[in-house]
């Protein structure tokens, strides 16, 4: 009978494991920022990934032609120290700084950029963000295999420190686009060391392999735990980098993240559970930040199905629910009610709005043949399974029922099933959201063109498509804004989508973190962030 002794051994092992707090971090004065980074990154290859958590890490490890401005808005020079545009806005010339280095010490040249652009556009890479480069002459044809000679595209490098981009049409906000990682250079010789450079499945992004050109370099990668980066000695502006390192924690539970922040394990979180907002607001407002965010929460309407194929019905729905009440009682973070689809930013303000108007809504509904909702079939509202979406859907369901007499049923689906339904127009009304890719109204307005990949409403309006083409051909930023307003007016008139609210980014931040400036896309110039001198032991812990 040996079981009791086995139990004894196991117990003592457990006790030993519990007692020895081995490997506790040395109380060094190193300035390491602990950041709650959300989902585990799929990869760190700028030409493969598409997510937010990947973006946060890649912008620390790599640098593009231009970089973020310390104020959170605008541009700072990056690898390019200067640039100029031809008067027609079609040719951009960038002068790379001679001091830019890869983390292995090699200089960053215009050839690195060329080879990187060729890589992301190579068809076998199947890069999802390749389309970001389609503004450049020939990029789209190269990506679809119509041309195979990269020299025939609009990318060129007259010498080692000059890079020229020839565009299809003027892009006044090109510099903002260049901050996106799909435009970042990668070190091809390193990638080729670990496998074919133009295929997925290459191990070059792992710790010890990765060569970057950003302010930080990859130190370690513990999957589903954390990725640590440390300051790069070869970065051209290394003396200006303030942090010694950043620990990006992969956390897929927002409740666990909040507990980690409270326990002092995190300096900044990615978000905060809605149920905790009021508590932080009343007890420790200094720890919670609410910043603007370039995103809209809206409902897609299936314009191909009766009765929603009637713009009067769609408009009636948009005019007849109380957005402010939803923000106040459900969202709680002071989000902005949305009466049009594009957030007011980058000089854009809408001309018209879908302000709540019950009398007008009932009139429209009667005009469409459904007085007080009579004769209308039940409408189904689709959302992806989530407590937050459910609460909003239930509130709006109730308001539509009361205000218009329309019978609304709710249907929730698991994320990928929901995406599939939405893309195949298998819905009446579908919850959706869009976060801008770059700070320009176009990132919201090009969604609704006829047969656009992200349209998913069946909305098709040649006048709208024509306006987008006009905007793309317009070089002047102010003239473009005028065209955007006309596009927005069409959306407000035809209502293929019902805007609900504009996002806010709500998160927790330890007051010792400095220079964490608001940024509409929630992007960081990590080199500017600092941590004030460590407070006495334990004081970093925050109790609520």
């Amino acid at each position: 009978m040996r079981l009791p002794s086995l139990v004894l051994v196991l117990v003592s092992v457990l006790l030993l494991a519990g007692c020895s707090r081995s490997g506790a971090p040395a109380a060094a004065a190193a300035k390491i920022l602990a950041y709650g980074n959300g989902a585990e990154p799929e990869d760190l290859d700028p030409h493969i990934v598409t997510g937010v958590s990947e973006n946060n890490i890649i912008t620390a490890l790599f640098e593009g032609l231009v970089n973020y401005h310390p104020s959170g808005e605008g541009i700072s020079p990056g690898v390019a120290e200067s640039w100029e545009t031809a008067p027609d806005g079609l040719t951009w010339t960038f002068h790379l700084r001679s001091t830019a280095r890869w983390s292995n010490g090699e200089p960053v040249t215009s050839r690195d950029f060329l080879r990187s652009y060729q890589r992301i556009l190579t068809p076998t890479m199947a890069a999802k963000y390749a389309r970001n480069l389609f503004h450049v002459v020939g990029a789209e044809d190269f990506n679809s295999g119509k041309i195979t000679d990269f020299a025939a595209t609009g990318f060129s490098a007259p010498d080692a420190h000059t890079l020229v981009l020839h565009l299809n049409h003027p892009v006044p906000y090109l510099l903002e686009l260049l901050k996106h990682y799909s435009w970042f250079p990668v070190h091809l010789p390193t990638i080729e060391k670990f496998g074919p450079a133009d295929r997925k499945g290459n191990a070059w992004t792992r710790a010890g392999n990765l060569v970057g050109n950003g302010p930080f370099q990859l130190e370690s990668w513990l999957p589903n735990q954390k990725i640590t980066v440390t300051r790069s000695p070869t970065y051209w502006n290394a003396p200006a980098v303030k942090l010694d390192g950043i620990a990006f924690y992969a956390i897929d539970s927002i409740d666990a993240e909040e507990r980690m922040f409270r326990g002092g394990q995190l300096d900044v979180t990615s978000t905060i559970p809605t149920s905790k907002i009021d508590e932080y607001r009343s007890k420790s407002p200094g720890l919670m930040r609410i910043d603007p965010y370039y995103g809209t929460y809206f409902y897609r309407l299936n314009t191909t199905r009766p009765p929603l194929n009637d713009a009067r019905v769609r408009r009636a729905l948009a005019l007849s629910f109380d957005r402010e009440a939803i923000i106040k009682t459900i969202l709680r973070a002071g989000q902005t009610a949305a009466y049009n689809i594009t957030p007011a930013y980058a000089g854009f303000t809408p001309d018209t709005e879908l302000k709540s108007d019950l009398i007008e809504a009932r009139r429209l509904l009667a005009e469409a043949g459904f007085p007080e909702g009579k004769g209308m079939r039940p409408i189904e509202l689709l959302y992806n399974t989530s407590e937050g979406h459910k609460q909003i859907a239930e509130a709006i369901q109730q308001m539509w029922r009361t205000n218009l007499g329309i019978d609304i049923s709710l249907r929730n689906e698991e994320w990928k099933v929901y995406l599939d339904s939405q893309h195949n127009l298998n819905f009446d009304i579908s919850r959706a959201a869009w976060i801008g890719d770059y700070p320009n109204p176009e990132t919201f307005l090009d969604l609704w063109i006829t047969d656009g990949g992200n349209n998913d409403t069946g909305y098709a309006n040649p006048a709208y498509d024509h306006l987008l083409a006009t905007a793309l051909a317009t070089a002047g930023a102010a003239e473009r804004l005028a065209v955007y307003r006309q596009m927005e007016n069409l959306i407000v008139r035809d209502v293929p989508v019902i805007p609900v609210y504009f996002y806010k980014r709500v998160f927790l931040i330890n007051p010792r973190v400095q220079n964490w400036v608001p940024n509409i896309l929630d992007n960081r110039g990590w080199q500017y962030i600092d941590i004030s001198p460590a407070p006495p032991d334990g004081a970093a812990k925050t109790k609520t």
């Binding site: 494991a17 007692c19 707090r21 493969i48 076998t124 999802k128 990668w221 099933v417 995406l419």
Partner: protein, 332 residues
Amino acid sequence: MFRFILRRLLETIPVLFVLATVTFFMLRLVPGGPFTAEKAVSKEIMKNLEAHYGLDKPLLTQYGAYLWDITPKRFEPWRLADGPDFDTKADFDLKGSFGVDLGPSFKYPSRTVNEIIADKLPASLELGLLALSVALAIGVPLGVIAAMKRNTGIDYAASTFAMVGICVPTFVMGPLFVLFFSLKLGWFSASGWYFASDRVLPAATLGLVYAAYIARLTRGGMLEVLNQDFIRTARAKGASETRIVLKHALRGGLLPVVTFLGPAIAGIISGSFVIETIFQIPGLGREFVTSAFNRDYTLVSGTVLLYAVLIIALNLLVDVIQVWLNPRLKFD
């Protein structure tokens, strides 16, 4: 005994084959695929993506290739510890030792399923074994004492503990432990899997549930044995109570616990998704669940097959132990 084990092992082959087949086709029937995303990609890019993973080939061709990839082609278990995984620390090389290739992950383009399993299995195993130790160390003595002091205050206290342990779900117990031991007392980190101390709360949370079950089963088993003739004989011969319990009764009294442990151990490793999420432990339980949401075909199939192998192996082990503990059973 050898024939018994061999026969049981041969029986697993059709089981695993059916499982691999059903998983393969069910995944592909579910709406949405690995590349279904909120932001649309162009048709050309989608075609290239599918070509990269071989999804452009006929389904039966894909199925045949997958079956061949997962079929063991050699038997060199000593090489299990050779192969590199993501961080080259913990090793579990299915390809080098058995020639099993579970394919590339769809969600993590630069990782293979073999690597992910090698990387994540150790944490789940560690958590499972620690929790099991807690469960046995608390459950068995508690059950024995309750049985010996039947219908006294001690028995009622032990039964109450068992009922509470079974009724309170881990997703309530875990955060409560964190609230008290981490945030209030500051003894442990709120989440993470970095230091030895990070193991305590998750192992305790998961272990207590099983301790409760084990205490109830031990009490029941012991009560049954303590009423039997051979115990009375031992008493009549003047054996001490301690000797009666430890030497004579426990062996029979633990039989229900052993039966329970087979599936429980498999469950403790695979079912720790909740604990792994609450404490942010990099284990296989989370991969198992999230891979289904991500439609990461190969990762779902790979983890399903791994758990199947674990459950089959543990059940076999339980059967062998039962024969060893119970002289009335024979290998047949």
